[in-house]
């Protein structure tokens, strides 16, 4: 388990969104909410969407347990999707989110992916709840949903592995 660090020169846009995030906080009258990530990863986002009867996002908000990149990308996604039809919101990809925040350090790409993953989960959840499935909504999980799932599984595996290691260390030591 090698742990390394690399410089994180966040750009001015990320810094601004970190200092003054838009659409922050739990939405009491949300139509739907969805979570992506896991506190184990140190990265977790909750999205709240208020959707009208025409499937248009009236407003969006977020909460984030995560780093500056996580906060900035979540914030920008809530701005990007406001007023969009769900069909158009679904087309958003993490690449355009990363571009909108002026670029992400490579090791923070997953933050942008997670933000879009949470959005897509919310959209999927909305239609599941509604009991309909529009033709544009792919059955297969999108790239971002898959990535979010992978990160969560990794986190679970990691905490499981840690627990196993703990147990092994607690047991009697044996020489191979």
């Amino acid at each position: 388990m090698k742990v390394s660090r690399s410089p994180l020169p966040y750009n001015p846009k990320i810094l601004e969104l970190f200092r003054n995030p838009k659409n922050l906080g739990k939405m009491e009258d949300a139509t739907i909410s969805a979570v992506a990530g896991n506190p184990v990863c140190g990265d977790m986002i909750t999205f709240y969407l208020k959707i009208d009867e025409k499937d248009v996002i009236e407003k969006a908000s977020f909460e984030s347990y995560g780093c500056a990149a996580n906060i900035a990308t979540s914030s920008i996604v809530t701005e990007m999707i406001k007023g969009l039809k769900l069909e158009d919101a679904w087309k958003i990809q993490y690449k355009s989110v990363a571009e909108s925040v002026g670029g992400l350090p490579t090791i923070k790409f997953h933050c942008g992916i997670l933000a879009v993953g949470a959005l897509k989960r919310a959209i999927r959840k909305y239609y599941e709840k509604k009991g309909t499935c529009p033709s544009w909504l792919q059955k297969e999980p999108s790239f971002e949903e898959k990535q979010a799932l992978e990160e969560e599984e990794l986190a679970r595996a990691l905490s499981k592995r840690m627990k196993t290691e703990e147990k092994n260390n607690a047991g009697p030591l044996q020489n191979p």
Binding site: L8, Y10, L15, L24, I45, G66
Partner: protein, 407 residues
Amino acid sequence: MIDNVKELLKAHEGLKHEVYLDSENSSTVPDEVIQAMIPYYNLRAFGNPTLTHKPGWEAYETIMESTQKIADFVGCRTLEEINFTPGETEADNLALMGTTLSKGAKGGKIIISEVEPLGVLNVAEMLQKRGFMLTKIPVDAEGFINLEKLKEAVDKETVLVSLSTVNHEIGTIQPIREAVKVVKEGNPETIFHTDASDAYGRVPFNVQDLGVDLASLSSYKILGPRGMGALYVKEHVNVERILEGQVGTQRLWPGVENTPLIVGFAKASELAFTDFEENVAHMRKLRDKLIDGITVVIKDVLLNGPAGSRRAPDNVNLSFLRCEGEALTIELSLKGVYVSSGSACSRRLLQPSHVLVAIGRKFDQAHGSILMKVTRIHTEEDINYALKVIPTAVQRIRGITGSTGVE
């Protein structure tokens, strides 16, 4: 990238107060130390200490006098026991590789703890890949090594045990004397190394009292210049070089001696050990002021590591629940308080600090951890300013977290 950094720095303009509390990761060098070093760049002793001319002999004299000071502070028997290296990491690498490989790389067992610094942990894991057995001794909830497990682990195959005197992240002062006793009773041939970088100049540390064979020291951790450290090697203990080249006065580290840095390291040591008791009392006072000041005002804070006299006098490590560490370090930086975090987000991989995981902190507790170190040059005003800024910063980051992750 560089433009982004310029903008980040611009965001810090106009700060009226700044407090640097990150001497775990690098440190400021007090003016007295810099002044002591300057003449050795261009006025005297700039020669190579092994050469036959005046600047060379001056360098030899200077290096030996500096070595004598450090040797005295740690209780060496001879000057040759101090070997300068470019830092703690290099000293640790030399200790681990220089002893195991000197045995002909035939294998054997290496024992470390779960909470060693990466200079020890990563090298031990590298040696494991090359055929050595590796046992990691568990620690308790305060980070203390389990001496029973150590006793069970030491056997006739054990070539090396490496346990830090003071944990670099959570300040646990380990029972090294007892650990040495346990190891030597189990196998008198086993070499005992301790990374003493976080003990030197802050807790009583004497190689003869403790009975260790090898000890790593770091210059910047006592406010000396970076790029300098030392490995104490007890007389007659066999350590081999891990780098080859022109060997000079430093038998275990080839290359041209860095006389000004050696002088700076010795000067910083002198300043730490002159009025040692007062310095330690001062650090302990500031440490407790910081810990108490934070925990009284902020809810849901965990102290990582032991409290009181079993904790290093300089170490403050707190976990703020529902508060992501990297975000908090940036928020604090914008207010002029510089700290580091054990969060995964401030590192490259998802794993948070292995030390915090080893003491049983859950991942989300580790992600919200902040490490601060006070030094002998910090003032009450510095701590007051940190105490003014930290609660507001934690409150804001917790506000972003909101209900996310709350079960």
